[in-house]
Symmetry: C2
Subunit: 226 residues, 2 copies
């Protein structure tokens, strides 16, 4: 299947590598391909520059946001929160319409220091903003409640005995997302309802950030015990 | 030990009954004792009027907010979010100062329909507002992430294998809260840090509310898997 990943950070890389491993045709989209392929600096988390990663993951194609959206049957939004709407704008509505967009982004605002606050919350969510902006895209919020390594390999923690959520307006799109999540190893998947329920998982990130500070590792996740 | 519970709803009743069962001297505080003891209507959740409950829990004293605060060594804030600062004002700063106040309230705004939004979140929390308003009270946010029945009996769910959080500025107050939580049956207790971390657990309620809609029962809780 043809997948596109908007965003070349750790989330995008992790998703892309997993999808290639599964035998899919995968393109990572970025704002400026030349700049990305020329980058030499590690990011603030110590992750290697993209070309270093790409040398070990050469099966992943790299293109502009528009090329990536045009390439793909299913898209992941793995940009940072502020970059999401600009990236989708560059991707182009005609390249996005009718497609499933699995939205992993969180509306984090780092301008007030650490831990970040959120630039949308409570009465709205980034998932909803994306859905409103692109009404013909099938937006499903998921995977935004844990660290990149666990998204595509939940079994790294407690044999996968933790919970992942999906929010979206389109039942078929949520069913397709659920199949993708199962292929990643998820077995406790809760459909929260329509895209407005993305408020719940985006706001969960406020607790996630405090737990990161206390636990001193991102290798944790939430289980809904019931 | 002498405990006071501000608020006579299901949360206050559940905490009070448990503390009496443990042999403590417990008073529930309310705005208008005569009105509470004369109430005959069930609440919107179908819970019985206070006098019906009190007839079966006659070991619990009932007083004004001020009487309850004066009575107590340790207080629980079990009022609804909008009622918290007014209740504390009526309790009186001199009756509160120097005491541990375990704050269970959530800043829920029902004015926009269901599910409620929050009237404080993201860059502030109700726990912080209370602490700022009463700087000499030892505010510890806890127990605000699950339904009343599970607060004092976590073993009703998965043998208690789920997580409770504490947030507060005073280490001794958090240690005392932790002992109280252990006496309720909690064994996975995470200290998130200072009172600003109450933002994390208060915002978690946004997800809790959506899960209530999906699971159709409040008998669920969160476990931090790590």
């Amino acid at each position: 299947m043809k997948f596109g990943i908007l965003g070349s950070g750790m989330v995008g890389r992790g998703i892309a590598a997993k999808l290639v491993e599964q035998g899919n045709d995968v393109m990572i989209g970025t704002r400026d391909v030349d700049a990305l392929m020329a980058s030499t600096a590690s990011d603030f988390m110590g992750n290697p520059p993209f070309p270093v990663w790409h040398a070990q993951n050469s099966g992943v194609k790299v293109g502009s946001f528009a090329e990536t959206a045009a390439h793909s049957e299913v898209l992941f939004n793995a940009t940072n929160g502020y970059g999401s709407l600009p990236a989708l704008s560059q991707a182009g509505e005609s390249n996005l319409n009718g497609k499933l967009l699995i939205d992993i982004s969180n509306p984090l605002d780092f301008s007030q220091g650490m831990p970040p606050t959120m630039f949308i919350s409570n009465t709205d969510s980034l998932g909803e903003q994306i859905q409103r902006t692109y009404p013909r895209v099938k937006v499903v919020k998921s995977l935004n409640t844990l660290t990149a390594a666990l998204m595509v390999n939940p079994g790294l923690l407690a044999d996968g005995d933790h919970t992942i959520f999906v929010s979206g307006n389109d039942s078929d799109a949520k069913a397709q997302t659920t199949e993708i999540l199962k292929s990643f190893g998820w077995h406790d998947i809760i459909d929260l309802g329509d895209i407005t329920t993305a408020r719940g998982t985006e706001m969960l990130v406020a607790l996630w950030l405090r737990l990161l500070g206390v636990l001193q590792t991102p290798m944790f996740s939430f289980k809904v015990v019931r």
